[in-house]
């Protein structure tokens, strides 16, 4: 392994976590794309621990990788790690979440605030601009804070819609189920729930089923396969903000490749977000547009 041919490039990746499907898909995108160019990728995950993420970047520097991809745990804090890489003249790319300190070659991401807005607009539409809404939140991460910020911003424009609960489901399905049950208990008239990721939304869906509530609309985020399936089955989960994590992954590798080849690259590449409901998914299935 040590005497690999000169040409083989090594790319170090530090993900925010592997506990969420989103990053599994992003990782997959990176792997498949990198395999095409025969790049070697070293993938680690910080599991929401910034200190660990910085250590991982430092380990990459010690290894002398050719490029580093970071999905920052925190936009600012990761700066010290990035600066270490900058000092060692190793190019750094960020994916999904931006870094605000240190030099970044390129940032490839979908916009979380925009995604939150999409969810808000969708709910405003189906609720006909009035009703009560709950958020299954995970207010510990910049990305989810941004989603909720976008969501709240868009609903602020509709005085008829009230956010009656904002609870922490820790981004995992079992906790989300538990807190959603309590929210439903406290709000017999609840009209809609926004889950900051699909585990949160699906946990809410489990709770809704437990209480056999009808007339509730749930919107999720990420459009993971279980969520898509739930939407297609006509459950309370009606729509999902969709990002294209594997596309973020593959785009990142493509950008790095351009960099290796000496081509010029932009400082940021937006990857589209969208909103899917059962109609869109249905069409996509038949045309194969959202195949995963």
């Amino acid at each position: 392994r040590h005497d690999k041919p000169q040409a083989t490039k090594v790319i170090g990746v530090t993900l925010l976590t592997r506990g969420h499907m989103f990053y599994r898909d992003l990782e997959e995108g990176i792997r498949t794309e990198a395999a095409q160019y025969e790049y070697e990728v070293i993938i680690t995950a910080a599991e929401f621990d910034l200190g660990k993420q910085i250590s991982q970047i430092e380990d990459f520097v010690a290894q002398g990788v050719d490029a580093i991809v970071v999905c920052p745990v925190d936009s600012r804090g990761v700066g010290t790690g990035i600066k270490r890489a900058n000092e060692a003249r190793i190019p750094v790319f960020t994916a999904d979440i931006a870094a605000q300190e240190g030099e970044i070659m390129c940032h490839i991401a979908s916009d979380n605030v925009a995604g939150g807005r999409l969810a808000g607009e969708y709910l405003a539409k189906v609720l006909r601009q009035k009703g009560s809404v709950a958020i299954i939140n995970q207010p510990a991460l910049t990305s989810t804070l941004d989603r909720v910020q976008g969501f709240r911003e868009s609903l602020a424009r509709y005085p008829g819609i009230k956010i009656v609960a904002d609870v922490n489901g820790f981004g995992v399905r079992d906790r989300a189920l538990q807190v959603s049950a309590d929210v439903l208990q406290a709000n017999p008239q609840l009209d809609a729930i926004f889950g900051i990721n699909d585990d949160s939304a699906l946990g809410a869906l489990d709770a809704v089923r437990q209480f056999k509530r009808t007339n509730i609309v749930i919107v999720g985020y990420d459009a993971t396969p279980p969520a898509q399936e739930a939407i297609l089955r006509g459950t309370a989960l009606k729509a999902d903000v969709i990002q294209y994590p594997s596309k973020i992954g593959s785009t990142t590798i493509q950008t790095i490749r351009k960099f290796f080849l000496g081509e010029s690259i932009p400082s940021s590449i937006p990857v589209e977000v969208g909103l899917v409901d059962s109609t869109i998914l249905h069409n996509a299935l038949t045309t194969g547009a959202v195949n995963r």
């Binding site: 506990g19 499907m21 995992v172 189920l177 049950a181 017999p188 489990d206």
Partner: protein, 310 residues
Amino acid sequence: MKNLYQSFGIGFALLVEIAIFSALSPHFFTTDNLLNVMLQISITAIVAVGMTFVILTAGIDLSVGSLMAFVGVVATSMLKLDLRLEYAFPLAMLAGLLLGAASGLIAGTLVTRFRITPFIVTLALMTIWRGLAFVYTEGRPVWELPEAFALLGNGRTLGIPNPTIVMIVVFVTAYVVLSHTRFGRYIYAIGGNPEAARLAGIGVKRIVTQVYVVCGVLSAASGILLASRMNSGQPNAGIMYELDVIAAVVVGGTSLFGGRGTVTGTFLGSLLIGVLRNGLNLLNVGSYVQQVVVGVVILLAVLLDQWKKR
């Protein structure tokens, strides 16, 4: 009777809590919500029974949360085998419970034969099972399960949620075992003075191993119920449950030094924490303030218990 008295301090705290929430929220003291609370605590309370056994022997089991996740994904993945449901279903249950027993057996063996402290054994297992759950599923949930599986955890029997029924059965059995059988007596003796127990002719290693197996099996059962409630196997289920469970056991009056404690106390402890979480959610208290409140209430409850003992 003695147990009831011993649990008085915490029982009082529970009553105060219930009174406060009943006053503050019209949604709290309703049959529906009380059943909801019972359902919510069922999963952790079942594990708490196993944890009580372990703690009574002066041990601890930090691996329960991870084990629940690992069992959940393994059992659900069995359901996806190309088998008829009549076969797949018992097979999945069996595999899950066996896995729990195996985990307990490993923990128990390392603790008794290799004399490693329970804390470190189960801390390592916690890491290992969680890692394996993710390796096994590649981080993705196991889903598209037969609807019948969801019934297990979401259905009701005689109006009572199934997990609650399981919990009640587990508690009653544990109560009888601890206070009326030889096995129970040995557990207390070992927790109180393992050397004296050994010299009294008790097979300390065997009993302690069995206790970890009991805890493993109960965690597995609980993990299966949890998976059923979500109708999917989530590798990230049960994170930090061990701490909730231990808190419930200790708040319920069981001593971490072993030899002292009851499952009645554990039940009340689980209820105290469960009611608190539920009530705070009903009152729409922000999650971080909630964390602070839960911490403070746990302290107050143990303080009260301590003060009562004076």
